[in-house]
Amino acid sequence: MIRQPHSSRPGGGLSPRRVLTLAVGGLLILSVLPAWMLAPIGGLSRVAGFALEPEQAAINWLLRGLRTASGGERESEELRKAHEEAELFKGKYYTELTDNARLRERISQIEGTLALTPGLNIEAKTASVIGLSDGNSRLVSIKAGRDVGVTAVTSVATVRGTQLLGRVVDVDALSCRVLLIDDQSTPAFDALLMAPISATGEQAASGTAPSAPFDALEEGIACNLKPIGNGLLAGNVKIIRPSERVAGGGGTGGGTGGSGRAPKAAAPQPKEQMVVRLRDDRWPALAQMLVVGVVERIEYRDLGHVYVIVRPAYGDLRALGEVVLRLPAATTNSRTGASGGGGGS
């Protein structure tokens, strides 16, 4: 380093070099501090991100435009809309089925079950994607924050309203960050495997697959999925056979032949291309039955364990222009109340 004749001033003041040394020391300490001590820096980070938002959004918009113009997305508008609509109805249909099953099982808890019905005032907001955070964190920045009622953990982001993108983990006044479902920080969650429904309302004929969609819920092909990296989720399949359900009220099956009992012919089996939907009470009610992805591969392991590998179907995130946020109704009410009082932050 280039030496300077006087490292400190005669009066005992700090020279730029000494300040630099102190800054380096301070940064070294800051970089190893625990997360809770670094919380105030999050505010500075948001300010910096906010300042860059316009430029980032403009470049993103430009790049997406170029991508579309160069033939990146040639799907016709009508087909896309029809597809979206079909997915939306499927989601509603499955949600209704789930609610029906729940009501029959737990009639005494009607109020609690009602909280999971789609009739509730769940607010859906379309918001544009600001950009992808740095590769370290695997977060997607969305241009919607507390101003529209987004709350951390209880709000989720979807693609076209049906494909689950992830859970909101950080919110500020005008933007929020979504942690992707396939990020390895996301805890394991339960989901249901369902055969795709044909246009006539029947499930796709697939050997041992249930003959009607209702059976899929009744008999259940559940799985516990965990992100395994590379944008994939994986986990063991838990087949709940009709006999077990009657006897034990939802006991777990040991797989496809490892438990010693002869599997019933009608027992549902996981298949490739089955749609996987979220069914986990640790996730907010408004996220239930959203599409997690599609079964990409099935592995049969020792002791009869069946292992599925699921790929989320949200496509290329770089082409993602906007998302649909699902917000809890309670948040909407409290926000309205807060803004009415003039004290919303």
């Binding site: 500075l44 980070s45 403009a58 590769g135 951390a152």
Partner: protein, 194 residues
Amino acid sequence: MSLLPALVVTYVLFGLDLALRPFIAFGNPPIEPWRAPYFVLPFVVFIALNAAPMTVLWASLSIGLLTDLISGTYTLDGGLQTVCIVGPNALGYLAAGWVVLTTRAIMMRRNPLTFIFLSMLAAAIASLVAVGILACRQMIGLGEPIRFVGTEQLSARLIASLLTGISATVLLFVFRPLTSVFGFDEPVGRRYSR
């Protein structure tokens, strides 16, 4: 060095860093760490090649600090929380600026290849320092660990450092005409400098 032009260029380059990198990255961002060229680091090298020593060090540190604030957000392992870690990139950029500063006297500053080579070198040094500090943080283990795989990060960042040669080549054509705008106060024609 004039502050205003430097701030404007830094702002534009940060925007490119955030918005353009995912589009030109190899792999599938943000599933994988980005393997895409850096845009801000060549500017640090440009400053380090032309400005006065203390200016270089402060500019490197400041730009690194901004990098930490803008893209230094990590998710906590196993949780649904994020944390912004300030320091790794700031110190990495400072190290990169210092290396360029100490080697510039023996380099042919006006040769475009010098700028390209130093950009790649500086990016690699900044990556090594940043990943090293983050790895130390994980080892020390104060508080909850962040989700961080050192080898994955290091390999991605070193590939990005190599690719920085491409962005440096492009940016050279932008920076060269702007040299007078920045008002660098360091005389170029010193001993050893060519």
